[in-house]
Symmetry: none
Subunit: 197 residues, 4 copies
DNA sequence: CATGAATGAGATTTCATTCAT
DNA sequence: TATGAATGAAATCTCATTCAT
């Protein structure tokens, strides 16, 4: 094997390990919060030794911040792409909603919820959310919503306000695991009625 | 001072202290979660020494459990009394909603939310919520809602399901502090529309 | 009531209280050792408030030391008086043995045992026992024992050594509560045989 | 190093550490009792950090209970093996006595004494001693003693009673450190006379 | 790179002592 | 004098992080 390939292989292992740790941390932080998650739990969830975390992240804090930042970036990216989805404004936002409700996202959303609302997170995370409030995330959706209002697909009213509530509600539904057992998540089209009616 | 008065006075001091500690703990647990709240913070918030907490509660865990149980009891009691409020079913549930949205309740609701959803709480708290699910709490409201449906005040549909979503949404709105700054909580009557359609 | 009597009365109350505390402390220290006894237990045993102990003793340590010193003094006094008891040397030591085996002494003996053997006692107590070793206590008995040897009542052998073992054994029997249930303490005359052979 | 060896090596380290902690704890508990022994002392005696104790034992209490149980088991085992020692009943019990008087056992005996007599020990330890009283330990020796009585090696009398006293006395002598300085422990053969005479 | 034993700073809890009443 | 609520120093215990292997 050439030295180059050797290096590539190592890099790949590193990337995989890093991802593995992040996934485990995401799950644990989502379920137990920042202080409630012990590094030993993350290691166990990731099936690695406790010490190994520190070869990929300088500290529990850095791991948490990294997660929040990356999830934030993903969310931002997802929202910015809505305008490029096919279909009418209604169909674009409907697709976005479906994507968000995907259960693979559940831990990500729970983590973000907690990170934003809880006071027991690193200073820097608080700052991230101060700088980038929910409303900033909503920003790229506003013109789309307005277009839908003009075409009559959406009900009239202050766009930012309506969208803010809409995402708040989706968020809260996502993190209400308990509901699943009885009724599951509400149908997408029921939710869309919040915007149309 | 007579011995009787002396004893009464001591009892009163104990009651006040206990209440003081519970209030401080409620606030801290609500904002920072169970593991994120250090006993030193509770003591500081209550302006007492750390040791004193332990003359009133055997442990941080017991303090937390006590809070959850008492809040649960209050909630149950509040919901059971709705039927005895004056007015039509619509007015009764409207009054309940106003009571819930009262900002004095904010910490109580946040604490309950976290206690129910987080995995970093004492075993016993998990059990409390397993035994008494949200649906049990909703139970006493159902007949009232049905009466409202019959009189045409409320929209048709499966009562338990509609009410479950209704309270989920109220819950989530209450715990979204961030919104306050921009738009505050939605008006009661806007929320009631979820039930009336 | 005259001022003098008033004063006397107060003094008497003080003495009684002090005695009450000492008795309670003796029992607790005997059963649970120095560090194992909490001042709150002593207070409870004496049926007084926790704070009151400190109006009679400056500290738990002082209370303990006082007890040890007084018990030591009593023991010394008891042993010094043996020579003035009526009867032959055998009868004198027999009477002493009966007095020691009195069950009212059990706590006193247990306390002394622990105070002497345990390392978790105040420095000063250790010093007391260094200064006044068991052998010093035995000293006044030696001439009596020797007289008994000369008269043939006791078996020959080095007096200090024989007496040292004798008291060690009595001590140990006294503190073996468990035995009571099955066989009680050995009969005085059985014990005396250790000396007579 | 092969993975197998690596695992063996780690196991060995764990065993050694555990033993090291138990030895240190044994010494401290023996000298200072349960409450009188601080975990910091155990750590210092074992030359490890305080925290490490808790990777091997869940609590100071568990450490203490473990020690008592294991010592109890050893004692039981030792006593049960007496019948298989070579020689006559007299020689068997003589060998047992020598083994007990071994100064390596001193801490073990002191710890057991304290654990049995003191009231400041964990509940569970009290239960252990309730379940397995001294007499139960003596049980396997009784037939041996009876055989010795029949052969005339031992003096007549109720075996359980005589043996109970015998071990009580040996116990007490073992824990009388003070004696060492002056006369040391009595000779085995002197002690055996308690049984023969 | 990977492990997990070990550390030590910090959290929870206890309890001798003080102090307002 | 007597009480018991309150304190704070010290004990027990936890866990993020380091380090020898």
């Amino acid at each position: 094997m050439s030295p180059l390939n050797r290096q590539q292989q190592l890099d790949q292992i590193r990337d995989e390990r890093r991802e593995q740790i992040k996934q485990a941390a995401l799950k644990m932080f989502a379920c137990r919060g920042y202080t409630g998650t012990k590094t030993s739990m993350i290691a166990k969830e990731a099936s690695i030794s406790e010490g190994l975390i520190y070869r990929y992240f300088n500290s529990k804090e850095e791991l948490f911040i990294t997660l929040v930042q990356e999830l934030m970036e993903e969310a931002r990216s997802e929202l910015e792409n809505v305008g490029f989805l096919p279909g009418t404004p209604f169909e674009q936002i409907r697709t976005l909603t479906i994507n968000i409700l995907d259960e693979d996202n559940i831990h990500a959303f729970m983590l973000m919820e907690r990170a934003r609302k809880a006071d027991d997170v690193p200073e820097k995370v608080t700052q991230i959310f101060e700088g980038v409030s929910t409303n900033v995330l909503i920003e790229p959706i506003i013109p789309i919503f307005v277009k839908g209002q003009q075409s009559g697909e959406f009900s009239p009213g202050e766009p930012r306000r309506i969208l803010s509530w809409y995402f708040t509600i989706i968020n809260s539904l996502l993190t209400q695991e308990e509901m699943d057992e009885e009724y599951g998540l509400p149908d997408v089209d029921v939710l869309m009625r919040i915007l149309t009616k």
